[in-house]
Symmetry: C2
Subunit: 318 residues, 2 copies
């Protein structure tokens, strides 16, 4: 469907994006063009633990108009159920079915898209419980992850056993290495992941964001877990998070929508807006409550179809 979608009415990056704040008629017209709204979360719906005023009312307004709402997150440490709890704890009404995370995206990719030999269906996980839960939800067998037996130092015996390809350390059924954010990353896990990939395992990443926002600053992100492997192997993983289109394909596969009637909403041009444009969605909506600035929206290489000061400005349609 990606290749057959009609050209957007708001062609990207060759236009000046329309500024819709204060333009009730323009907002009404924009909303009417879409059946589905894909939302980036942090920087759009909230920042840290602070929900922006009007977030709930805006989501409610869209739902009342029959729009499908999807929350799209690159956060791999939480499962969809965990993420739904987070939304609920922030007071945002949502269901697990409305949530699409990079760990879920990766699990779908492994279970439904990758063609693995029957003897190579196991996944070696670098990551936290979010990945494990989503792999379980797709009945994908895995090792590693939060298993405490992987939280140890490498030993002289390990080097020899790994070099010899011992099945004590290298499970012969592993056909995929999936790397997400792992707060317990260590040398031993990196060594195993490297050798699995050298022995033929598919190299996947939930997402490749180098950093993770927390407490108003940045910390190592999922991409930083893949970085040593990328350097050692000289190759990149297939990333199942924004802006990689494997994630868009997985979202479309689940929600079965017409891309020309879908809009991506986000605060970052290089991930969210790019994700929508490369996915040939009917439109992209930038908001100025996050990372990207008005200057980027208006004059950057990647530009949204329209932009608003804040998401709640959509309520001006009423």
């Amino acid at each position: 469907m990606a290749t057959s979608a009609p050209a957007s009415e708001y062609p990207a990056s060759t236009h000046s994006p329309r500024y819709l704040t204060g333009d009730g008629a323009g907002i009404r017209e924009f909303i009417d063009k879409f059946d589905v709204f894909l939302f980036d979360c942090d920087g759009v719906l909230w920042s840290g633990d602070h929900v922006f005023p009007g977030t709930n009312e805006t989501l409610e307004m869209l739902r009342s108009k029959g729009k499908q709402v999807v929350f799209v997150t690159n956060n791999s440490t939480k499962s969809r159920a965990d993420y739904n709890k987070k939304l609920t704890s922030l007071g945002i009404p949502s269901t697990t079915e409305e949530i699409f995370s990079s760990s879920y995206s990766a699990s779908i990719y492994i279970s439904r898209i990758l063609t693995l030999p029957p003897t190579k269906r196991k996944v070696f996980v670098i990551g936290e419980t979010g990945i494990e839960q989503e792999l379980q939800s797709e009945n994908v067998p895995f090792i590693g992850g939060t298993d405490p037996s992987y939280r140890r130092d490498i030993t002289p015996e390990d080097y020899k056993a790994i070099a010899a390809g011992s099945s004590d350390l290298l499970d012969p059924e592993v056909g995929v290495v999936l790397v997400g954010l792992d707060f317990h990353i260590n040398y031993f896990k990196l060594a195993l992941a490297y050798h699995y990939i050298r022995r033929g395992a598919v190299f996947l990443a939930t997402n490749i964001d180098s950093t993770l926002p927390n407490s108003g600053t940045l910390f190592p992100g999922a991409g930083s877990m893949s970085a040593p492997l990328i350097m050692m192997l000289g190759k990149e993983p297939v990333s199942l998070g924004k802006p990689n289109q494997a994630m868009m394909d997985a979202i479309e596969g689940k929600f079965r929508f017409d891309r020309s009637r879908a809009c991506m909403v986000g605060d970052r041009v290089n991930t969210d807006i790019r994700f929508g444009i490369e996915g040939r969605l009917g439109g992209t909506l930038g908001v100025l409550t996050g990372v990207s600035s008005k200057e980027e929206f208006v004059g950057g290489e990647v530009r949204p179809s329209v932009y608003l000061d804040k998401l709640a400005d959509l309520l001006e349609c009423e």
Copy 2:
């Protein structure tokens, strides 16, 4: 001196390297041109725990002719004293003074070349005892390294404290982050290193080899420890190991030799031979007992002045 050194009699990469095995007169002539021989170790003197036949006799022959012998290693986990013990355990006569390691190179660079404000002289170390011992030998204060208090998980309080720049976690005297091979790498250390560098600390690496040979295969190397930081920061560290010329400058600073009368001996064109050529040494000698092949020596972009089947072929001069 690097810029004023005369052009090599064996100009690199525009010539066909001379093959000297079996050419006693050619070998004698070659040896006579040099006062100093810099040796890469693994792949030249030994492989793993196997010392090549004739290694000791060759070193003895060179010493008997009054040549200075220097062992140059990118291994940052061992101090020079440790490395000397390793040579001794392999039966190779050596002194600590003949050894030049990337951790020593980095320590010299910090103590004698970097100009740090008096209040910013402390080093945050990602690495093992080799780095710590060499920093101590140059009286450079440091934190991190093998200190067990850094071998723990990150906590929710850590995020807040790091974001606030708390001196409980971020020592205000740290002006350098030095990254070497760390078998105890973890998320907490990477987060601290990232924030020190963001706050202005100089980003140094003992070396940037992505892999480490062990047991006949490869494991994560020092470069893999820097990789997450490079991805997060969008910048490379200054590397103090081969083939970076900061290491050659440090070697020359210590041994005070005439570069035109020095020869680099190694098995790898991209590190050892390149190191000697870019350092404008009088010559480079490739041996076929390690990584690079005859085809690379003869037809690659980086070519040694001369090459031998094995180091011990130098004994044919007698």
